[in-house]
């Protein structure tokens, strides 16, 4: 596979533009429906792009992304619900203070998810292909069962009454940062290691690359962003349950990555947009939506395994 192209010739400029755009967009999104769509879109982009680092660029097949998302969601919700009020005081504090607490909560959630990701990754990434898929799936289920049994975090009922801090500006900015970080990482010298691991593990090892370490790093970074996405999700829905982060949720993210073309950041973003908007368009035939998705997945693998949005542009000159 060809290395992922840079989306724009200057990634820093693109990041700045995307951040400004997402903050300005918030001013124009007043209607709650559009607000919902944009927030979901941002969260889906974060999830899909971060999973793409593991499943696409590094060529591993993880089915446990929702598990890391739940770690981030629970931890950041716990921070804003249990520690937040003490910092903000009785009246809820100023807007900037709230956002500062939210930032801290997201970071804590992401770091904790990354830690769990490393914990999961170190033993399981020595396995290959199918085994890895099953082990990550198994870990996702274990994480879910553990959360269902932690009573201070609501147990099976989940956590309710999480403050509604997530805005369109937050999600889209984080999405832009995710795309930026993953894009720069993969295109760096270090990032060639991910691609080499993907292309031919045995050859990469023969060249002296520590492929296990590359896999673990990819896994940890992927889990970090999944945790942040979970935090955003929790503060957007205002209530989370462990069963909301099950196998089906992981599959949904995997479908985005496959549809966009594994290892193709632009394609994966487009697929995330498509799969966020499609359910809205298909609302009249909602009961057939998932049947259509799964059918699409099979047909895609038979006819166009490189993904729906994998176009071959001529390389941009710099």
């Amino acid at each position: 596979m060809t290395p992922s192209r840079r989306i724009f010739s200057s990634p820093h400029l693109a990041l700045l533009g995307a951040l400004i755009a997402s903050v300005t967009l918030t001013r124009f999104v007043a209607d709650p429906y559009a607000n919902d769509i944009f927030t979901t879109l941002g969260i889906n982009i974060i999830l899909a792009v971060s999973l793409n680092l593991v499943n696409g660029h590094t060529g591993q097949f993880s089915l446990g992304h929702a598990g890391f998302m739940s770690v981030g969601a629970y931890l950041s919700a716990a921070v804003t619900m249990f520690i937040g009020p003490r910092l903000l005081g009785e009246d809820g504090g100023a807007l900037w203070a709230q956002n500062a607490v939210f930032f801290g909560a997201l970071l804590a959630g992401g770091l904790c998810a990354a830690f769990v990701g490393l914990l999961v990754g170190v033993p399981s990434l020595r396995l290959r292909g199918d085994y890895l898929a099953i082990v990550t799936l198994g870990f996702g289920e274990i994480i879910r069962v553990i959360f269902q049994n932690i009573e201070p975090l609501g147990g099976a009922l989940g956590l309710n009454g999480i403050p509604n801090y997530t805005t369109v500006a937050w999600t889209l900015s984080v999405a832009a940062i995710t795309v930026f970080v993953v894009g720069c990482l993969v295109n760096s010298t270090y990032g060639r290691g991910f691609l080499a691991t993907h292309d031919d593990e045995i050859a990469a090892e023969a060249m002296g690359l520590n492929t296990t370490r590359y896999k673990i790093v990819a896994f940890g970074i992927g889990a970090f962003f999944a945790g942040i996405a979970g935090g955003l999700y929790g503060h957007f829905k205002m209530s989370i349950t462990a069963s909301g982060f099950d196998f089906t949720r992981s599959i949904e993210i995997v479908v985005m990555v496959i549809l966009g073309g594994m290892g193709n950041t632009l394609g994966v973003i487009l697929a995330a947009v498509l799969l966020t908007l499609l359910p809205e368009v298909l609302r009249p035939i909602a009961e057939y939506r998932m049947i259509l998705y799964s059918f699409l997945l099979i047909v895609l693998m038979l006819v166009r395994p490189q993904g729906l949005f994998n176009f071959h542009f001529p390389k941009l000159r710099r």
């Binding site: 060529g59 097949f61 033993p123 399981s124 396995l127 292909g129 199918d130 085994y131 898929a133 099953i134 082990v135 799936l137 198994g138 870990f139 289920e141 274990i142 069962v145 553990i146 269902q148 049994n149 045995i202 196998f247 599959i251 995997v254 496959i258 009961e287 057939y288 998932m290 049947i291 998705y293 799964s294 059918f295 699409l296 997945l297 099979i298 693998m301 038979l302 395994p305």
Partner: protein
């Protein structure tokens, strides 16, 4: 002591079902080297088919029950062969990841199709009592005919499988393809026929497992295959994937451990046990209990 024996009996019947499903995973892995994710949904289709057919059969008779079982097995074999022919065969020479994704797609397609109101519906339905129901009391031990039936049918099917694989021509061909597909082709074995047969055999066992599971738990729904399927896969890996006696052993092991954990203080962690066990096995004995490890060659 009585409680222990009672739990052991429950464990055996649950383990027998896991073993039946695990056999299908292991056989397909043996010939094609990929995980048939849709296997757990073939198991579900078996139970659904039994549920729909059983309604038209008289309840509580042996021939009615056996007809239902046989019909479900035939439906599942046909489904397994159909899936292999149209979803997996075109991908025989493509990367394994693509086949894995297709298998996940087939699995989701079956699940969501059966969840549709016009097909079966997402709500659980009760499974008709096609087999006679007898409960014996034996020195404080409760023996239900369903449990004995589950163990008995599973045992018969496993012996039959062992016979097919080791004593018939097609079974020998299956083992040959599993050992070395190219060499098998050189001695005149048609791999397409063998793979098709393997899917038919594995799916029939899954179908039987579905009926037995539904008999034991009395309810049928489109997502019923997910958890047993995953655990049966774990069982196959623990026994050494590709190894038929290993799958049976793994199934019994998982069934036993799960039943005893379910009866203890840690019952809420029941669903996580199988996966924890899987991770331990993969770390310390990646080839499984009865498997042999292979060195990857370039």
């Amino acid at each position: 002591m009585t409680e222990f024996l009672q739990q052991l009996l429950n464990a055996l019947s649950l383990g027998a079902i896991y073993a039946l499903i695990a056999l299908g995973y292991t056989m397909v892995y043996g010939v094609l080297r990929f995980i048939n994710f849709a296997h757990s949904d073939v198991f579900m289709v078996g139970a659904v088919a039994g549920c729909l057919i059983g309604k038209h059969l008289p309840t509580g008779t042996w021939w009615g029950g056996l007809t239902c079982l046989l019909a479900a097995m035939i439906v599942c074999s046909a489904l397994g062969m159909f899936i292999e022919r149209f979803a997996y065969r075109p991908l025989r020479s493509s990367p394994r990841l693509n086949v894995l994704i297709t298998a996940i797609g087939v699995s989701l397609l079956l699940e969501y199709t059966f969840q549709n109101e016009h097909v079966f519906g997402a709500a659980p339905r009760s499974f008709p009592q096609v087999f006679p129901q007898v409960v014996w009391q034996l020195r404080g031990l409760t023996l239900s005919s369903n449990q004995l039936l589950v163990i008995g049918v599973a045992l018969v099917l496993m012996v039959a499988l062992q016979f097919i694989v080791f004593r018939t021509k097609i079974g020998t061909a299956m083992r040959a393809v599993a050992l070395n597909p190219r060499a098998a082709q050189l001695v005149g074995i048609n791999p397409d026929v063998v793979v098709s047969f393997t899917f038919a055999l594995g799916s029939a066992l899954a179908g039987a497992g579905g009926i037995l599971y539904a008999l034991n738990y009395q309810s049928v729904e489109p997502l019923m295959g997910v958890m047993p399927g995953l655990k049966a896969f774990v069982a196959a890996v623990i026994g050494g994937i590709g190894n038929i006696p290993g799958a049976a052993l793994g199934g019994l092991l998982i069934g036993t451990i799960e039943t005893f954990v379910g009866g203890s203080q840690l019952s809420t962690y029941k669903d996580a046990i199988a996966f924890a066990l899987l991770i331990l096995i993969l770390l310390f004995r990646p080839a499984g209990l009865l498997g042999r490890s292979h060195v990857e060659k370039v």
